[in-house]
């Protein structure tokens, strides 16, 4: 059985009924069911459309004093439902064309381990947990400075037309190719040059993303004994869980996860006690540089330790916390329905002088919010584990498209949480220390000086909030995570515990974000190490052997040094760190999306589906325009706040003129740091944009070639007859129920029909 060589392209005769039961529904019957509009169906979709339309009107047209958060949730969910029911169906019908008669890799490559059929609902949760991390929580918070509307529209419309399309297509294409990775598909479709550029881009992007995630954690833990203690405690907790699973009770994952969760809560409560003690204040009140070094050392050790000891157990905790907290936040937002007192579009959208992230709405909104609307990183997940676990081809729509819609909803909730806090506090928290001086007085003067209508910050507001959340200060706590934590605690305390519980909820949120950022740092370093070893192996064959310890350690050290350097650069940057580095993160992520979509376009073109090429060309064109123009602004802009090289020149000139302080840099050392940092950031921007242009150009070449040749080729694995059946979506449709009942009614001895190796 299994995969045959792909030289023969004779289609195998697939049967809908290979034995006594059908493995797929009749396509005509499916189509008929979709087209049959019963009065009830019409009523349901009318209600969804009307509610969605009303919500959009409330958000975009009605201009009251405030807007209720519930409209964000309704606008999002109704639009997702319509996009899922109509647009993803359209893509399924015309581009994806799934065929349930074909076995998926989980069936024809089944090994009971890496390739194993997984229930669609479980796999949905699995895939969601793998794609949703800190990104959708951080980006929307930073973009809130532009007002509530731009971010909301981009998150909701972007996911339906771009993000979910990318995830769905990559997942399906990878599944049709036995679970091949994005890099391999790029090589197959775009040739050696395009493939190599995609590979290098992926590696560099991985480094940037890990560095900036680490920067977010660093900013959240600096000057916070409570945070350092509770997040630090996750390490011994994970080690304990790892040993428990390895030596005492292997496989009892739910049990140990619950124990771990209880210990986590204890660590958060314990952090509150430690915060009040003298030794806590003496030993755990750490500055950013110390924390950054701690994370670098931790990152190296974590990446060379065996997976069972630290990564796997923390991953269980992280999944547990992720699903739980997101569910909790959703319930809280629906019950509390916070009023949002933020303009729809702020002046920063056009002036580009916002203190949180520099730049005008176009293109910087679209790189600030990457995850939640369109995230290239998902292409790595959708061509990783998930395609090897899918039961039936038609499930890719639910898992790929649907999973991304869920992430988008998380982004909307993060946006709501950030918008629900006072706008003055928001800017005091998110303006860099260079602007606020890091003091309450400085922050008040700076924020009130911004001239925002309705914003009147007082020192008491900042000190009271700091006391409520159990922090020394909330001034200039950039990075998005502390703001989200304040927003979450502000909403949750109205539901449970009141003001006295705010500090618990705040640190709960910090813990929740730190957990999966640390997992992402660890896992990202490992993946990058393997990619590096694979590339180095072409020159020094010994590196190909990944179990060769010195090689593994050297490659890990190189990758940690790479992201560590960017992290330290961000931490010590006199200009603030997040506001200069975050655009790089967004640009990197969107460029990866452009690469993934370019691969999709080449595949769709090769199959001769030119009539529907626009489905891919639209998001690809948008992502390309946004990221290339953002990169060009970062490289060529003459405004020092935006262009890296303009900033570089300004500081270099000041140094040459013998000045001892310039802009926000108080001394010569800081000025030299700015010159160095902006040069590195500028060069990185150039590398990104050049690599992506190469990939996009090779994809266009492949598309044109396919058009000229009237191509109908495919690089898919050969079709294998499926022997099993499973429904496609979360809820079974009536025809699916009938067939499922037939399968359930089979005698027990006939139930297993899988062939051997």
């Amino acid at each position: 059985m299994g995969v045959t060589s792909s030289t023969t392209k004779e289609p195998t005769a697939l049967k809908r009924i290979p034995h006594d039961l059908a493995v797929a529904l009749d396509p005509e019957e499916l189509d008929a069911h979709d087209r049959q509009w019963t009065p009830l169906k019409i009523l349901i979709w009318s209600v969804i459309s009307l509610l969605g339309g009303l919500s959009w009107v409330m958000l975009a047209v009605v201009r009251g004093e405030t807007v209720n958060a519930i409209w964000f949730v309704f606008a999002a969910i109704c639009t997702y439902l319509i996009g899922y029911r109509f647009y993803s169906k359209f893509i399924e019908k015309h581009i994806v064309r799934p065929d349930d008669r074909r076995a998926t890799p989980a069936e024809y490559k089944a090994d009971g381990k890496d390739f194993a059929s997984t229930d669609r609902r479980v796999l949905f949760g699995h895939h969601f947990a793998a794609i949703a991390g800190a990104g959708p929580l951080v980006g929307p918070v930073l973009a809130a400075q532009l007002g509530y509307l731009p971010g909301t529209i981009w998150i909701i419309v972007g996911v339906v037309l771009a993000g979910a399309v990318q995830d769905y297509l990559i997942l399906h294409f990878s599944m049709r190719r036995g679970g091949r990775s994005l890099g391999q598909m790029a090589r197959d479709e775009l040739g050696v040059i395009g493939g190599t550029a995609a590979l290098i881009a992926t590696l560099v992007i991985m480094v940037i993303i890990v560095a900036i995630l680490a920067l977010v954690v660093t900013n959240a833990l600096a000057e916070s004994p409570w945070g350092v203690f509770s997040v630090g405690m996750t390490i011994p907790i994970a080690l304990f869980m790892g040993c428990y699973l390895r030596f005492f009770r292997p496989g009892k994952i739910t049990e140990i996860s619950i124990i771990g969760f209880v210990l986590l809560i204890a660590a958060i409560v314990g952090g509150g006690m430690v915060n009040g003690t003298e030794w806590g204040q003496t030993y755990l009140l750490l500055d950013k540089v110390t924390i950054a070094w701690g994370i670098i050392i931790y990152g190296f050790i974590a990446a060379i330790l065996p997976v069972w000891l630290l990564l796997a157990p923390r991953d269980y905790l992280s999944t547990f916390m992720k699903i739980g907290t997101i569910g909790m936040l959703a319930v809280a937002i629906v019950i509390i329905r916070p009023e949002i007192n933020v303009p729809a579009v702020s002046g920063f959208a056009t002036s580009g002088t916002g203190p949180v992230v520099a730049g005008t709405l176009f293109p910087f909104l679209f790189v600030t919010i990457a995850c939640g609307a369109l995230s290239g990183f998902h292409a790595l997940i959708a061509s990783g584990t998930t395609p090897k676990l899918i039961q039936k081809e038609r499930q890719t729509r639910f898992i790929g498209y649907g999973g991304m819609l869920m992430e988008s909803l998380v982004a909307i909730m993060a946006l709501v949480a950030a918008l629900s806090i006072d706008r003055g506090i928001y800017f005091a928290m998110n303006a860099s220390p260079a602007l606020t001086g890091g003091t309450v007085q400085g922050a008040v003067a700076f924020v009130n000086g911004l001239g925002l209508t309705g914003v009147n910050l007082t020192p008491n507001m900042l000190t009271d909030m700091a006391t409520n959340v159990g922090e020394e200060s909330i001034v200039s706590r950039t990075g998005g995570a502390p703001t989200l934590a304040v927003g979450l605690s502000h909403i949750m305390q109205q539901l449970v515990g009141g003001t006295s519980m705010m500090s618990f909820w705040y640190h709960f949120a910090i813990m929740f974000e730190a957990l999966f950022i640390l997992t992402a740092v660890d896992a990202g370093t490992r993946v990058a190490r393997f990619m590096l070893q694979d590339s180095l192996g072409n020159f020094f064959p010994k590196f190909k052997n990944t179990s060769w310890r010195p090689g593994a350690w050297a490659a890990t050290a190189i990758m940690v040094a790479a992201w560590g350097a960017v992290l330290l650069m961000g931490v010590t940057d006199p200009l603030g760190g997040i506001n200069t580095l975050f655009p790089l993160f967004g640009i990197a992520n969107q460029l990866l999306a452009a690469i993934a979509l370019a691969v999709c376009m080449a595949i769709v073109a090769k199959r001769g589906l030119f009539k529907y090429l626009w489905v891919v060309a639209l998001p690809l064109g948008f992502a390309s325009v946004v990221t290339i123009s953002a990169s060009f602004l970062k490289i060529f802009s003459t405004t020092p706040g935006i262009g890296y090289f303009a900033q570089n020149r300004a500081f270099a000139n000041a140094l040459a003129a013998g000045e001892t302080s310039f802009g926000t840099a108080p001394n010569v050392l800081a000025m030299e740091a700015v010159v160095r940092n902006t040069m590195v950031q500028g060069v990185l921007s150039i590398i990104f944009v050049v690599l992506s242009i190469i990939v996009i150009v090779t994809a266009i070449q492949a598309t044109v070639r396919a058009y000229r040749q009237r191509s109908n080729a495919t690089s898919e694995d050969d079709a294998v007859q499926s022997q099993t059946y499973a429904p496609a979506g979360f809820i079974m449709t009536p025809p699916e129920k009938v067939l499922q009942a037939e399968w359930d009614a089979r005698p027990a001895e006939k139930k297993i029909k899988v062939k051997g190796h």
Partner: protein, 75 residues
Amino acid sequence: MTLWAGVRTGARGVAWYLKGLLGEDAYEKYVAHHAASCETDAAGLDRAPHPLLTEREFWRDQTDRQDKNPQGRCC
């Protein structure tokens, strides 16, 4: 169905989902796969190309494979 039975069915459903999500059912799935692939071998159960791993061996093998084939987490 009484209320109590409903609660029990619901709780069982949640437990099943959680187990699946965290991957606790991996060994069961492996054993089922192993049994199915042996079934074609009429002479006996232990003739499969690989002998059945014990639960402890399976989980060790599982994390060792993750060591060799790391998977990224998203941002």
